[in-house]
């Protein structure tokens, strides 16, 4: 068995955390897969910032509606009971505290809860920010879902972000292949370690301050 959580494990772990009745926005990429892992009997309202409240699963091939897409411009469906709003109302929902959870990918998270996820320094071009800054400024809980280290093995949980920020002091919890890390009072509280991941593994792969006080070191199946 390989160490740590696979992407699918990670999506299931995030889904397990989100309570019944929550209004949730899923970022483009890995976070969108969370839809597949909502535990049976739990009803979650998925919001898409282009104006859908009550987004359903992927359409059956051939049944796509060109006017029903998610924030990644991919075809989706509407649940019975969905609502359509314009963009300003969609972001009113986000900024006014009605969005319970925003789940996004991350490039770097600092121990202060700062998030960098929209731009890598030195890349050519102007970049694009989309709704990420609004989501992290507005959502009641900001979950970041990412690999624990970058593709060169460098830490992504840092003392300070070096990439351009998406938001300051906004991250609630980081879910990585190594475990679950709550961002509180200038450090990451290790809430859970993934199977096969040791305290030393986390320490080696993390630059930020860690607090293992509450870690459950028992491997999850």
């Amino acid at each position: 068995m390989s160490k740590g959580w696979s992407d699918a494990d990670l999506a299931a772990r995030v889904a397990e955390t989100i309570p019944n009745g929550a209004c949730v926005n899923l970022g483009i990429g890995l976070p969108t897969t969370i839809v597949r892992y909502v535990p049976a009997g739990r009803e979650i309202i998925f919001h898409s910032e282009n104006g859908i409240i009550g987004m359903g699963p992927d359409p059956v091939p051939g049944k796509e509606d060109p006017d029903v897409v998610n924030a990644g411009k991919k075809p989706v469906t509407l649940i019975a009971g969905a609502a359509i709003v314009h963009q300003a109302d969609s972001f009113s929902l986000i900024r006014s505290g009605r969005l319970d959870y925003s789940v996004l990918g991350g490039l770097q998270v600092s121990e202060q809860g700062d998030l960098a996820n929209w731009k890598v320094p030195g890349t050519k071009g102007v970049g694009g920010v989309g709704g990420a800054m609004d989501l992290v400024a507005g959502a009641r809980n900001v979950f970041v879902m990412m690999r624990h280290t970058d593709k060169n093995g460098a830490p992504k949980l840092l003392k300070r972000c070096t990439f351009p920020l998406t938001g300051v002091a906004c991250v609630t919890t980081v879910f990585t292949d190594y475990g679950v890390f709550d961002c509180q009072n200038g450090r990451f509280i290790v809430r859970e370690l993934a199977p096969g991941i040791s305290v030393e593994d986390v320490e080696r792969a993390t630059e930020a301050s860690l607090d293992f006080g509450q870690a459950r070191k028992v491997a999850r199946s």
Binding site: N50, D67, A88, M133, T166
Partner: protein, 221 residues
Amino acid sequence: MLNKRVDALSRALSVVKSGDTILVGGFGDIGVPLQLVHALAELDVRDLTLVSNNAGTGEIGLSRLFKNRQVSRVIASFPTQAGADHFKAAYERGEVQVELVPQGTLAERLRAGGSGVAAFFTPTAYGTELANGKEVRMIDGRGYVYERAIVGDVALVKARLADRYGNLRYRLASRNFNPLMAMAARHTIAEVTQIVDAGVIDPDDVHTPGVFVDQVVECGA
């Protein structure tokens, strides 16, 4: 008899002048008034400021305005989506200045512009490089960024239904920025799938009242 119907796209667009600020509805290619944009690409107008969430993909839509070198400035949240090659080329040629705006802030600036509100404070982008040079203020212990309204010379929007009064009804998630753009311009032109008799759109079902709309053009689906 009041009748905002115009039969030729080019006639509707005769109000557009070089140097104008043009608001274009849509999110990605969804809800973009493609026929109007393509007709605009045929006209000898340039030095346009384009306000839209994205900047076109492939050879259609807003891409044509960049290919024709008609745009000198872009206000957008995500101009660099996959396939935005004509925008990227224009940017690399140094022809286009870009003001990158978070998506929710873009929507709210348009709502303000269409509502007679000059400016507002939003928590989005506080502490990030997109707030550089902007006034910030602490309100109830939280940082906010000062943002100005956007008002356009001409808005191009896409709706499903219109009547001769200019009342509009959109379809599902193609609504997105269209109602905001329609209200935020001095002159609004709607490309619609179908023009129906007055009264066919139930008063309860009008999304954008005709007082915000100057011309409607029937273009089919």
